[in-house]
Amino acid sequence: MSSNSHSGKEIYQVLYLNHQHYAVPVQSIISVLALEKILSLPDTPNWLTGVVHVRNAIVPVVNLSFIFEVDSLADESRHPLLVLLRHPHDSQRWLALCVTDITQLIDTEQLAETGLRSSPHPCVKHVVDIDSQPLYLLDISKLFEQLMKDQG
């Protein structure tokens, strides 16, 4: 589903975490917040940092570095922002990504010029190289699926 379907163009926000660049559709972003105090949960996968209380909801915080198995920095001050995302098809379901920084906005037309590659990772729609650095275009639905996969 396009996040900007009327023009056929999808706008992505680039996120920076642990020397990696990721991109999420801007329409999935509810807000960008300063990092809240995270409560760790027992018996959960390592990529689930914990939960935070934002906008009157208990929201899981996901560390993409663990999902993509990039060596993660334990120090939370290195990723002081939370990007609050909503499920593309269920606005009542949210998750938060902890990131170091948010950088530029890019659109799919720009990306198409650069050349999109597919990725073996289920949470990634495409990979594109920007300035010789890979940029992972995240599949938000799959990210939410990942979250509910480990039902206890």
Binding site: K37, L39, V51, H53, V54, N56, I58, Q92, R93, L147
Partner: protein, 629 residues
Amino acid sequence: MNPSLSSATAAFHQEALQTLQQIEDWTLSSIQNPSASMDQQAETFRLLHSLKGTAASFGNESIAQICHAIENVLADKTQLNTQGSEALLMAIDYCRHILSNSPLSPEQHDDQRDECIARLNMLVKQDLNSANQTQLRELSGSVWQIDFAPHAQFFENGHDPLRIIRSLRNFGPIKVSVFTEKLPEFADFDPFQCYLRWQITLKAELDYYQLAAQFEWVKHICDVTIDILALPQKKRVIEPNRYKLNEANLEALLTVSQTIQSQLQQAVALTNQLNQTDKIRLSRRNQAMKRQQQFLQQQLLHIAMCPLADAFARLPRMAFDLASKTAKPVQLNMDLAPIELDSFIVNSLIDPLTHLLRNAMAHGIEAAEHRQQQGKPLTGQIHISAEQAEDQLIIRFSDDGAGLAEDKILAKAKQMGINIKDLSDKPNISEWIFRAGFSTSQSADAISGRGVGLDVVKQHVTDMGGDIELVSNQGRGCCFIIKIPVLRSLMDVQLIRINDQTLALPLIHLIDSYLWDNARVIWLNGKQWFITDENQQVPLIDISRFLQLPYIERNEQSAHIVLVNVDKRFFAFSVDSLADQMQLLIKSLRPHYHHINGIKGIAILPEGDLALLLEPSKLLMAYEMDGGN
């Protein structure tokens, strides 16, 4: 085909609201244009009478009583004064509240109804020549103003104004003002005449008659006016809620409140960058704002939540009435968790619970002679329990009555064209009775009609996102199990600290706690530690391992052992320290994440930090599954 009870009730509500609107229109027009309204009075009277009858047939006695009281008012009056119009409008608002399922407790409902009826009855009794006095005689007050002006000859029969004033002081604190404007010049002064008058303010909850009685013997030789300055607290007129505050508004306000809390917390970190003086100043402001935010949060939660017990409050009285009507003695036992839930859930439970009780009394509990023949105790038993387990409210509603008549249900299912694959398929039998129009009753009865209520019960539960199932044992009784997702609740908890993390333990499970170094015997059996509590061996569980908390060296001075009860099974665990006991807002991990075993939910601490709320039953289960290690 009979319409379902829900659609019939909805139609009644709609018609009743329309009728109330018409009566209100007439009431308002009678103030504006008395002569024109007289023509419509007969029609209003007819509407009222019709509403009274319909309300009574739908079991809504309160509306029927109000309509009756209004009828009495209109029978005596062709024109309403302001006081009469206010009383009518108040009564109409009350009826609307009932029809819109207002979040009032049954006691508040009763108080409001009684207040409305009292005001309407007062109008009927009102004597136009002494309207104010009649009104007072009907009322009680908590603050009174008494103007006491003895006639000049007051002393002639030995009466003493001071004695009367002192007698008022026996009721409560008084403030007395004396007025001397009639006091003559000294030369004209007659010591046998009374020239003074008094105004007394009395603060006491009492009836008008009690007060008037103090002047009974002197009323012919004085002028007394008694006015109420304040009504008693419990009888004070509750203004109908005329403000618009729906669920979405409330959620928005709670979100704002939580966001303020979060931003205040973040502001604390920024103060570290300031110089010492500014830091202190800003910290003070921050603390003040935090207190205001916490107050705001409390007020909003007070609106949003209400005790779970409110949903069950009317059942004991109803069971009593139904037992009298059906001549089936019954004992109602209720075991309700002391929690508060969303008002929406609590209010939505009232109807299905009422249906289930009516159903149990009409079709479940047998007549005393039947029970005797079957060797059952004469008094039927109905047990209702409600508890929060994980993130669900679980209500068990059971009776020791006849259970489901399976043969009749199968026959009815065939009659309705339901495909019966296996006649002994019991789960299906239990499901069929929740279908609309499924009733095995041969005739309607006054208590539960034709038994059409169970599909309504299921609909109510489904509307709350929940589920209902029925377990029946023919001849032994049946049990309805209702499960409703709970996204937030208010719960009394004991806060504990383990490995530098704050955790919340539901207070209902806490039995005792003792200092770690209290010379209590702690002993090892195999790999498991035990303690001895009142000659019982109680396992000492390492919950920090279960919760995967990072190890931090313990301060033995503050360490405690906490003794916990789960359905009369005890276990203990050690904590680094005990913190406060308080009522906290508990939130579910759903819908954003799934439930985690052993964690009942997330507790929101007053400062906005989060804590895991432990689920002791699951901790014990995990310990047992781990072979007691």
